[in-house]
């Protein structure tokens, strides 16, 4: 039997009523979905921006500074005051514990040699000012460091924005003791990105105002960021590189210990 006009009108009215009551809930759902969608898009853009800024923008700036810093280092090489000072190697019993301090360095006028020790002289350069590029580190095995990377004095956040910095309370490269250089692993040019490929016997060269100091890698270690013992003085002349580990994390530190094998002070320190 065909539906009457009245029943059709009634059905139509019921449907309209249902649609009207469902509309607000559909509106809320759409709004929630829209908010979630926009939040996800904005969060994604912020994360993408972070990655781009950290990996590419910081590196671009660091690489732009490298040219200036290389020139600054060359100027420092020419202008640094170099003097010859008395150097007394540590006594053998201290040498055995390997953290005695690398002997005694004193000015040529006021130096006091230890009794019975063999007095020697080494070359020292004037302390560079904070933030000044005073050395160039080269690691032939690492492509990024094949041509050298300027090292500035200081390991503050600002100093390290140039990539690599020398810890001020440690001797300068080429001097007796333990010269510590810290560098970025993933940002700001990431000069130490690939130092984990180094192995025992690999060469590290550091140019300073005194000349080129050649080190050989002796050991790699992974330590905690608070393991300050890695910066303590050592007998002989050492270079310690420190960087973050693993890559993209500052949870640990990768340490490269290298010992001087050639350079202006090598004969005096190791004679």
């Amino acid at each position: 039997m065909a539906p009457s006009v009245r029943s059709l009108i009634m059905d139509d009215a019921a449907t309209t009523k249902a649609e009207v009551s469902a509309a607000p809930s559909r509106g809320v759902a759409a709004r929630v979905i829209r908010i979630i969608g926009w939040t996800s898009i904005i969060a994604g853009l912020l994360i993408l921006g972070f990655v781009v800024q950290q990996l590419f923008v910081t590196t671009w700036f660091a690489e732009q500074h490298q040219e200036e810093l290389a020139e600054e280092a060359t100027t420092h090489f020419a202008e640094a005051e170099i003097s010859e000072v008395a150097y007394t190697p540590p006594p053998p019993n201290e040498a055995a514990d390997n953290v005695s301090g690398g002997g005694t360095v004193s000015s040529s006028t006021g130096g006091q040699a230890l009794e019975g020790a063999d007095p020697r002289t080494i070359l020292v350069e004037s302390e560079p000012d904070r933030g000044v590029a005073f050395a160039v580190i080269r690691i032939p095995k690492i492509e990024a460091l094949e041509d050298g990377w300027a090292v500035v004095e200081g390991v503050g956040v600002r100093d390290l924005k140039n990539g690599a910095g020398h810890m001020p309370d440690t001797p300068l490269p080429g001097s007796p003791g333990n010269a510590v250089i810290s560098g970025h692993r993933t940002t700001y040019g990431a000069p130490f990105h690939d130092v984990d490929v180094l192995g025992s016997g690999d060469i590290i060269e550091v140019d300073t105002a005194l000349g080129t100091h050649t080190y050989k890698v002796r050991e790699l270690k992974i330590v905690k960021p608070t393991d300050v013992w890695v910066t303590e003085p050592r007998d002989g002349a050492w270079l310690t590189l420190t960087t973050c580990h693993p890559k993209f994390s500052s949870r640990q530190r990768l340490i490269v210990f290298a010992e001087l094998v050639d350079g202006p002070n090598y004969e005096s320190i190791y004679a």
Partner: protein
């Protein structure tokens, strides 16, 4: 966003200038935040402390 722009004071030229300035300040602030996060969590430069 559109409403925020329209609510800015002054004529259209002034609104545009203000909006650009606000965007630049926000961008610089964002880079500082990125820098802080990066220097403290992602890569501190390998310092021992």
């Amino acid at each position: 966003m559109k409403q925020w722009f329209l609510d800015l004071p002054g004529p259209m030229a002034a609104k545009i200038v203000i909006a650009v300035l606000v965007a630049l300040v926000a961008l610089v602030a964002l880079f500082f935040v990125y820098d802080w996060i990066g220097s403290n969590l992602l890569d501190t430069g390998g310092t021992i402390e």
